[in-house]
């Protein structure tokens, strides 16, 4: 047999340098879960900056009443692209990306179950994003119908521009990617655990990724079929969602929120996972009530499939329907509350080290509860009638998405950066980042609760000079500038620490899950030898043979 030259370079080192011959190719062609995970993170970082700039432009436009900074058309494109970007190209791929990086390491596997599928998932996100952003270059501009693209506004003849078509196509691509990652995660977690790593011992982050993955494969097909129908309507004159021709305007909303509500749990469950890893390590205690944290995740996942019409209380579905969805939504508060209390109990009695990851995790609890309590309130139908589609809602979901998901993401980056790169991030810059985020974030979004209940609708490019509206909006805009500054500090920290950070060693935080047994950055094959797993905290058991977590555990080799 003749020896063929490999088409792509064989991976021999963890993080091939771009400057090397074929360095770029070594990344682009990679099917290594760690490289793909890192590429996810880098791409989401770029999208985060873009989505953030879009937000900043909107906030400038809203800084004073009747301000003329950007036109209504552009404003509408900006909030549509901002929402779409942040959800589909920042938080979701970030969480999937960290998952792809960490899940195999945490369960002691060599790679994902389907490495090539993994690469396909990643590149579909990239190309989906490019497709959507390409619409800015077309004559008619980017989509401008909002991230939930209600029909018939998103249909012809109300959106003659091509934006919504690019939008649906791009998201269809990322949808395929999400289903593929979901499947990949499920198979990996169910079949590739190292001996001893039973389902009752996998780290909570892995639990959360597992539940999220099931949600992905259940709900993405709903929205994918809705995208397909929307494309048929727009391109081939079908009439699924056009009431003027026998379609239904409300049908789209059922499809959209049937996906959309579970989607918000897709955006928060892995974040819960990150928090459930960080808090125990920095409190120096195991998670309080592991079974309850894992079990409540499953409960949340199941409940989240049956609450979608709480986004449709103003549609007029009838009292019985509304009350069912109201009660179901309120029930989600219970497992969520259980989680929060378990995190608090984990910290209780610990010896807490407030390094940057823990600062973000601690703040996460408070900011997320803030978003959570407004969440329970708006599950009540009459309260929703007051606040839906107002700035109160904008405040609510930024508290859960920024105060929740993004805070967890920052906690995760500070926590695992040493594993990803072999170097620590700067604590000083980290603290600057943290405090600027706290100030900027709360300043931006807290006042919006008041604006909402005072009557300011969301998605408006301008507003009249009603009492206090101008000053509150100005506060919010200043907050957004501070928040932008905080992101700059973060990026700078990543940039300098990557080259000049303190060397990390394998386990700088003295953590207990398997990824910390690998080198930093982990070797291409992850582990030379996976440590024995006889409990939930294999590295604790190694360090404290006199006090193992499960003294009676059978040894499996």
């Amino acid at each position: 047999m003749s020896r063929r030259l490999p088409l792509v370079p064989e991976n021999t080192e963890p993080l091939p340098s771009l400057k090397e011959n074929q360095g770029m190719l070594a990344w682009v062609s990679s099917v290594d879960h760690k490289q793909i995970g890192l590429m996810y993170l880098m791409v989401t970082m770029v999208f985060f900056v873009v989505g953030g700039l879009e937000a900043l432009l909107m906030r400038i436009q809203l800084s004073q009443p009747e301000f003329n900074f950007i036109s209504p058309e552009v404003y509408n494109q900006l909030f549509t692209m901002h929402g779409t970007t942040m959800i589909f190209f920042v938080v979701m791929p970030f969480l999937i990306g960290v998952g792809v990086y960490l899940v195999p390491l945490m369960i002691g596997a060599r790679d994902m179950a389907f490495p090539r599928l993994n690469a396909l998932s990643f590149w579909l996100v990239v190309f989906g994003g490019i497709l959507i952003y390409y619409s800015f270059l077309t004559q008619s501009g980017a989509p401008d119908m909002g991230w939930f693209a209600y029909s018939p506004l998103s249909e012809k003849p109300f959106s003659l521009n091509k934006g919504p078509t690019y939008w649906a196509l791009g998201l269809l691509a990322t949808g395929i990617s999400s289903v593929a990652s979901g499947l990949n995660n499920i198979v990996t977690i169910l079949t590739m655990r190292t001996p001893g790593m039973t389902m009752r011992r996998i780290p909570l982050f892995v639990w959360m990724i597992l539940v999220t993955s099931f949600l992905l494969i259940f709900v993405i097909p709903i929205i994918a079929s809705a995208f397909a129908m929307m494309l048929l309507d727009r391109l081939l004159e079908a009439t699924f969602f056009t009431p003027a021709h026998g379609g239904s305007a409300i049908l789209w909303q059922h499809f959209f929120w049937g996906f959309g509500h579970p989607e918000v749990y897709i955006l928060i469950l892995p974040a819960f996972g990150i928090i459930s890893e960080v808090i125990p390590v920095f409190s120096r205690k195991p998670i309080f009530g592991y079974e309850f944290v894992a079990g409540s995740t499953v409960a949340i996942g199941l409940l989240s499939l049956g609450v979608w019409a709480h986004h449709m209380f103003a549609v007029g579905l009838g009292d019985v329907t509304n009350l069912y969805f109201s009660l179901a939504s309120m029930l989600i508060a219970i497992p969520t509350g259980v989680k929060v209390l378990n995190w608090v109990a984990t910290m209780w009695g610990g010896k807490i080290i407030f390094a940057t990851p823990m600062l973000f995790a601690t703040a996460f609890i408070i900011e997320f509860v803030m978003g959570g309590i407004t969440g329970v309130a708006i599950a009540s139908v009459p309260i929703d009638w007051v606040v839906t589609d107002s700035y109160f809602i904008v405040a609510h979901f930024h508290y859960v998405l920024y105060g929740g998901s993004m805070f967890a993401i920052f906690a995760g980056v500070y926590y695992w950066f040493p594993k990803f790169t072999g170097r620590m991030m700067s604590e000083t810059l980290g603290k600057w980042h943290f405090w600027l985020t706290i100030i900027g974030f709360n300043m931006t979004f807290f006042v919006q609760h008041f604006l909402g209940v005072m009557g300011m609708p969301r998605r408006i490019y301008t507003y009249q000079d009603f009492p206090y509206w101008g000053s509150m909006n100005l506060i919010s805009t200043i907050g957004a500038v501070v928040l932008a500054l905080s992101v700059l500090v973060f990026m700078w920290n990543v940039h300098v620490s990557r080259k000049r950070g303190k060397k990390a060693g394998n386990n700088p935080w003295d953590a207990w899950t398997l990824e910390w047994a690998a080198a930093s950055p982990p070797a291409v094959h992850n582990f030379d030898l996976v440590p024995p797993v006889r409990g939930r905290r294999p590295l604790w058991d190694l360090a404290h043979p006199e006090q193992p977590d499960e003294p009676n555990a059978k040894v499996v080799d």
């Binding site: 219970i334 007051v386 005072m454 009557g455 408006i460």
Partner: protein, 312 residues
């Protein structure tokens, strides 16, 4: 200090119920938040690691009784909130029964058509109601989804094509209540205001009578000229003026434009100068509006303004 609007100034029995439920719920839940914050502050102070302490703390894996307690407490809170929800819904949204609507509110991109089927009055963007009286409104849309929202008077309700909704409207006291479209509906969603003008019963009757008057069409002078231009310049393809051939429903009924407070669903106050500006180029004040720039010359604009002002 200026008065806070919206939920802080409930002006109907419905809104009072909504407002108190919302505020009580928020206060209670903020109480819960504060408990958690207090616990966190205590934790941060009491359980911070001392740098020279190298002992690991007591390893506590959980407590079943605690878990049960803190599962049951949120259950109780949810039960109470749900009961309050059911009660408030009854107050806020009384059943419609077999009532015929008193008002039909129709969302258009980006203005509101308002019809009183019982009297035949048709107007736009300004809803006159007699204070203290419950009127049943039917909410519709001719194009995309809008949402009718007057924050001081009550709930939001969507205006959906092919799916009419009903809602009772009442204002406790005479006054002006400003609302807006709350569902994103395209370019000028931000400028789709609604003004509810609550009056005494007599004032309302008087207004209704005035709206039904068919004003004579001026035949001479500037206004007469304007009347002709109105027919020639395609205005009649989109607008209605009672007593003339103009009977289209694409744009607002202009018969009694004089009686309205604003132009363009709230973008300009209704004065002859502003009307002049609007007709010169509506796109300048409401970019994207479905009223095109008709490219009228200044004299034509003046004539049409004179005509519209003369309709009484």
């Amino acid at each position: 200090m200026e008065k806070l609007g919206g939920i802080f100034n409930p002006s109907s029995p419905e809104m009072e119920a909504l407002s108190s439920l919302t505020l009580y719920t928020i206060v209670t839940t903020v109480g819960i938040l504060l408990l958690i914050v207090a616990a966190m502050i205590y934790i941060i102070i009491a359980y911070r690691k001392n740098p020279d302490d190298n002992q690991e703390p007591y390893q506590n894996f959980g407590n079943l009784n605690l878990e049960i307690v803190w599962t049951l407490i949120p259950c109780a809170i949810v039960a109470v909130l749900f009961l309050l929800t059911c009660n408030t819904m009854k107050v806020v949204d009384p059943p419609v029964g077999d009532h015929e609507p008193d008002i039909i509110i129709i969302g258009h991109q980006w203005w509101w058509e308002i019809r009183y089927p019982k009297s035949g009055v048709i107007t736009a963007n300004e809803l006159h109601i007699p204070a203290g009286k419950y009127l049943l409104a039917r909410i519709e849309s001719v194009d995309v989804i809008h949402d009718f929202w007057v924050p001081e008077l009550g709930r939001k309700i969507d205006a959906i094509p092919g799916h009419p909704n009903h809602m009772w409207i009442v204002a406790g006291e005479p006054g002006l209540y400003i609302g807006a479209c709350a569902e994103f509906c395209g370019a000028q969603h931000a400028n789709m205001h609604i003004r509810v003008i609550a009056e005494t019963e007599e004032e309302f009757k008087e207004w209704e009578k005035q709206e039904l008057v068919i004003p004579p069409t001026p035949r001479t002078g500037l206004a007469g000229n304007g009347a002709k231009l109105f027919q020639e310049k395609a205005c009649m393809n989109c607008h209605t003026i009672m007593g003339t051939a103009a009977a289209a429903r694409v744009g607002p009924n202009l018969t009694h434009l004089n009686d309205r407070q604003t132009i363009g669903a709230g973008v300009l106050t209704n004065t002859p100068e502003n009307l002049n500006k609007w007709l010169t180029n509506p796109q300048k004040y409401k970019q994207g509006s479905l009223m095109p720039n008709m490219k009228l010359s200044p004299t034509e604009v003046e004539a049409i303004v004179a005509y519209l002002e003369a309709l009484k």
